[in-house]
């Protein structure tokens, strides 16, 4: 039987949702009929609006997806102003205050505490600078990710920025592809470093070269069916197809059409491309694509550049991210700034917007490591940019534990989450920076924290993967983390293996400290952490993790999900001010 979600999508989905949002915004939150809440909130996702978790009714998360993470001059500032005016909650976050923007692992911006009544004005302001929330959530083409410095980078082989933008322009608001069985995530890589993270996407374009009619042509190889969610991580699989830039659009439409028609609409758990590829195999995907979805003869795969991929490849040296000062191919520089767990308070964000405009072109790009990049900075401006006070906190040269930290949304706003994430990761990073040193020559160490198995923080491709769990400590349930080790991308991508389970969250920094100490002691010469993990079996590794309490203090051990907001003075669900009217006054419920 088709799920309720499929039924609702059949009735109304895609661009038609816009008018309904406007209608409800005009009439106010209470105008949404009680018995239609589930249906409308499911539909709103298509326009980038996600109803926040229990205890926060009537407040929405809003996601804005610029293709490839490129925010043109002026766009970043507009987002900051919108956050300043509309993204304010009824309580403060102790680390981040009230009013901020989140940079996400798929190069999008997320705003929280958005009121439905404000949405039309926000949409207008976004559109005024060429931004939109369309398909940022929901069952369709999500934000297209790619090399964050595409078009600027010395390592580039094909212009990934152009393709990402063309895909965005073709498949956003495109009725033929607006209702897919589930989300559809696409990545475009153009460089020889592999920073598009294609391997963990539903559809990946990767740079390649192919001899066609005696001529060497540059374009892309195609992989499909990667993803991290639900304890079932998959690397995208090679379907032996090479495309030119022009063919890429048709093939992308073809593959998402294949998914639209053959993906599992009966069972949402099973409705991802990775499971279809499991079931059919890459050959059958290719055959069906050729037979039913494209009008020209597909080329077989070309020569790829995967052997040179260095991004998150686990070597002790090598380029792991886009943080720092790097020369562009035009002689200007791009400057990657570290954003701890992706969150920027509005006051800082204004200063960053100013700095980007003063010293560079004003363009700000978002990376899949939740960081930002200023582009087009002339050499003579670099020193002045480095001297800006705001760069003390958003540093081009951060400590490895700050630089390597990624955290998802967690119990603060997300209904799936099992544990608190962002504030905890900030505290982990601070404690590790103060207490732990990495061995000689290890400049990069990635620690990713996800609140549940959906894996939004991409834990499986980190050196240390942390995933939300619970355990019992002194007879009480407490928030805990599973610990995985040795994940990463590169020529030989590898998912972390889970070697320690249900470690109470307050013992995790101690566990990481002991692990790094053991690694420093027994590693072979300048073995990287990933090589070190690969050379050992799970039991050996588990022995190297010795969880223990330290002077690290974890204020979020109790069940943060049972609160309306984990940091409120009165955090009890009963004390929730939600749902609330547009002006924030609670709407009393008398059922």
């Amino acid at each position: 039987m088709a799920s309720d979600v499929e039924k609702w999508k059949d009735e109304l989905y895609g661009t038609e949702i816009r008018a309904e949002i406007e209608r409800f915004a005009e009439a106010g939150w209470e105008a949404i009929p009680d018995d239609e809440h589930d249906a409308w909130f499911e539909r709103f996702k298509w326009y980038g609006l996600y109803h926040q978790r229990a205890g926060q009714e009537s407040y929405f998360m809003m996601r804005i997806g610029p293709p490839g993470g490129v925010l043109e001059p002026g766009q970043f500032r507009q987002l900051v102003e919108i956050a300043d005016d509309f993204s304010r909650g009824p309580a403060e976050n102790p680390e981040f205050g009230n009013g901020w923007i989140d940079v996400t692992t798929r190069q999008a911006i997320q705003l929280h505490w958005i009121r439905l009544e404000d949405v039309p004005e926000i949409f207008d302001r976004l559109e005024a600078v060429g931004l939109s929330t369309v398909q940022a959530c929901g069952d369709s083409w999500r934000n297209i990710v790619g090399c964050p410095v595409a078009g600027k980078d010395k390592h580039e082989h094909v212009d990934a920025d152009t393709l990402a933008t063309e895909l965005h322009d073709t498949f956003k608001r495109n009725e033929t592809y607006s209702n897919l069985p589930r989300k559809w995530k696409v990545s475009v890589t153009g460089c020889d470093e592999g920073c598009g993270q294609g391997d963990i996407n539903d559809l990946a374009f990767e740079p390649a070269e192919k001899e066609i009619d005696g001529e060497s042509v540059t374009g892309y190889n195609v992989r499909v069916g990667g993803g991290l969610s639900r304890n079932e991580p998959r690397l995208a699989r090679d379907i032996d197809v090479f495309v030119t830039q022009e063919q890429a659009i048709e093939v992308a439409g073809g593959i998402s059409g294949l998914f639209r028609d053959h993906g599992d609409r009966e069972n949402r758990y099973n409705a991802r491309m990775k499971f279809l590829v499991d079931e059919w195999g890459p050959e059958a995907i290719r055959e069906t694509l050729q037979a039913d979805y494209v009008d020209f003869e597909l080329e077989t795969a070309g020569e790829d550049l995967r052997d040179s991929y260095s991004y998150n490849a686990g070597e002790a040296d090598g380029k792991h991210d886009h943080v720092g000062v790097h020369e562009q191919d035009d002689g200007n520089y791009y400057v990657g700034l570290n954003v701890l767990v992706g969150r920027i308070g509005v006051d800082d964000a204004y200063e960053l917007a100013d700095a980007a405009a003063t010293y560079g072109s004003g363009e700000v790009r978002l990376t899949q490591r939740q960081n930002i990049v200023f582009t087009d900075v002339p050499a003579e401006n670099l020193d002045d940019l480095r001297g800006e006070a705001v760069l003390d906190d958003y540093s081009p040269d951060p400590h490895p534990f700050q630089r390597g930290s990624i955290a998802c949304t967690g119990t603060e706003f997300c209904s799936l989450s099992i544990v608190e994430t962002k504030n905890r990761q900030v505290r982990f990073g601070r404690w590790l920076t103060d207490n732990v040193s990495l061995p000689e020559g290890v400049e990069n160490f990635h620690i990713h924290l996800s609140g549940c198995t959906a894996s939004c923080a991409q834990p499986q491709i980190a050196d240390v993967s942390l995933r939300g769990m619970k355990t019992r400590k002194n007879g009480e349930p407490v928030e805990a983390l599973d610990i995985g080790l040795g994940g990463g991308l590169g020529a030989e991508p590898q998912f972390a293996s889970w070697v320690a389970e249900r470690i109470p969250a307050d013992e995790v920094p101690g566990a990481i400290a002991n692990l790094i100490e053991n690694f420093t002691e027994v590693r072979d010469g300048n073995e990287s952490f990933r090589e070190f993990v690969a050379a050992r079996d799970a039991d050996e590794l588990a022995d190297l993790i010795e969880p223990e309490e330290t002077d690290y203090d974890d204020p979020y051990l109790h069940n943060t999900k049972r609160t309306w907001y984990p940091y409120a003075d009165e955090d009890d669900l009963e004390a929730s001010p939600a749902p609330a009217r547009a002006d924030g006054t609670p709407i009393s419920s008398d059922d």
Partner: protein, 106 residues
């Protein structure tokens, strides 16, 4: 009066009459050693797979993991609440649940 029951957001919660009533990530106490050998078993629910009514009882199918022994299993019959006069009354996850069919039976 008919009751609208469904799981949403990838099994994150159970909706009863369009209101979020039961959420994953709570620890449920299960008795009788039917989930695993632990007595009682403290089981973290990770996802709801299905929900239905059985008489007045709202019953979920869920995936969970035992916090002591680590067994991860499907629970086919987990009472999560009751419908009383058309209103949902949730079961407290911390009270011991004994009405539980053997895991794996479908």
């Amino acid at each position: 009066m008919s009751i609208a029951l469904r799981t949403l957001d990838d099994g994150a919660w159970i909706s009863v009459n369009n209101s979020r009533q039961v959420s994953v990530s709570d620890v449920w106490t299960l008795s009788r050693g039917v989930f695993c050998d632990c007595k009682p078993a403290y089981v973290l629910l990770e996802a709801f797979l299905d929900v239905r009514v059985d008489g007045p009882t709202v019953v979920a199918e869920a995936v969970g993991q035992c916090l002591e022994c680590g067994v991860r299993e499907t629970i086919t019959y987990l009472p999560v609440g009751r419908i009383v006069d058309g209103t949902f009354e949730p079961v407290d996850p911390e009270t011991v649940q004994s009405v539980l069919e053997p895991a794996g039976k479908h």
